[in-house]
Symmetry: C2
Subunit: 223 residues, 2 copies
């Protein structure tokens, strides 16, 4: 375990870990949670890969970046591997979130229950619309974006979700960076220009549909 921890830290430090590996880790975690729910004590790289369409070798290789989690001849104990992956991803800790933009999408995200798995919880909501500021959505008070600096600090918020219209996204992002936010999940369909130490992930619903349309129109073999 201290072995694994060392290797984890080393891997992160050296940054030998491909991004694709990390995204598969999240998928493994999701499947493992389903396996546990269905009463499985253990699983194997073949089973876990099979559920996701990956090879057994890939599952083992991915995990090997972070340490040794399995038992030769046996496989992996699901709950152990779940804990290990959570430690790797950092989702064994709590991650209070800020959300900016309380339009349709923003309000839907506030009610989204899937976040709670993994320590994510919306700790504050922000908007610039005076008609919304001060109101409460899903039990969370909406603040003026101008107060993000103070509130993010008070509440230990490091991650933020941007759900504002495209033309406003960049200046919202700038405000968040000013408030010390370290990671942004951006739902606005624009490329944000941020200091390189701030992490960004963009989710563009139109782009997902374009990918789907291309796959359908060209009858791509399934990934």
């Amino acid at each position: 375990m201290s072995e694994a921890k060392n290797k984890l830290e080393q891997a992160a430090a050296d940054l030998q870990v491909p991004k694709a590996v990390v995204s598969r880790l999240s998928l493994y975690l999701r499947e493992l949670q389903h396996l546990v729910r269905d009463g499985h004590e253990t699983t194997s790289s073949t089973q876990l890969g099979g559920l996701l369409g990956f090879t057994d070798a890939q599952v083992r290789k991915d995990l090997a970046y972070f340490g040794q989690f399995g038992y030769p001849g046996i496989g992996y104990r699901c709950s152990e591997l779940i804990d290990a992956i959570k430690r790797i991803l950092g989702t064994n800790q709590a991650w209070p979130l800020a959300i900016v933009g309380l339009g349709n999408l923003g309000r839907a995200l506030m009610g989204y229950r899937g976040f709670r798995h993994g320590g994510f919880q919306i700790a504050a909501a922000f908007d610039v619309d005076p008609a919304k500021i001060g109101k409460t959505v899903e039990g969370i008070q909406i603040f003026d974006l101008a107060d993000v600096d103070r509130i993010a600090k008070e509440r230990g918020i490091r991650l933020a979700i941007i759900a504002v219209p495209a033309p406003e996204a960049q200046k919202v992002a700038d405000a968040l960076v000013g408030a010390g936010i370290e990671g942004v999940l951006n739902f606005a369909p624009v490329t944000l220009n941020l200091p390189k130490q701030v992490q960004t992930i963009g989710v563009d619903l139109a782009i997902e549909l374009e990918q789907l349309a291309f796959a359908v129109a060209n009858q791509l073999p399934q990934t």
Copy 2:
């Protein structure tokens, strides 16, 4: 142009096109639309790549999978390249969509304006909750999922969005496949098991946050 078309069809048929290339194509399209809006007539692989953090070589290589779209010494004419990419992605046509699940997220997606770019339009909404069936959201009537077969055929719907709770997603997907749907954008946090000729893209908001948390916790160099 018939040159380009031939190469396009050939590329799709031979399937030499990596999936990562297609997803960058969508990003190029988005940036090109911004360039046009900002009054640019032409652009270059260096400029387009720079906006997205890609090398100029990558932009040219990606486009080369589908034909020749540029002018040596000049670059690319933005509006021409926009049209070409839309043809490649298939978003020059209309894509009527079905959406299943009118919870918070489903309703938010119905109001999402970003879809309209690229021929996407919600043509029918479905739920299984009798309290919702027959109501109207954003001007679209909600049908019983049991009627999806007939309505999808009537309206030429080939793509569907799943926005139901995780435990229902698989049986909803099965119903959609039965109705002849060819592509599914799945917002439920489960891996769907579908016939291989049906395309699926999954968007899991918790997973996106996990990726962000990992990146922040490990101070990853920006992608």
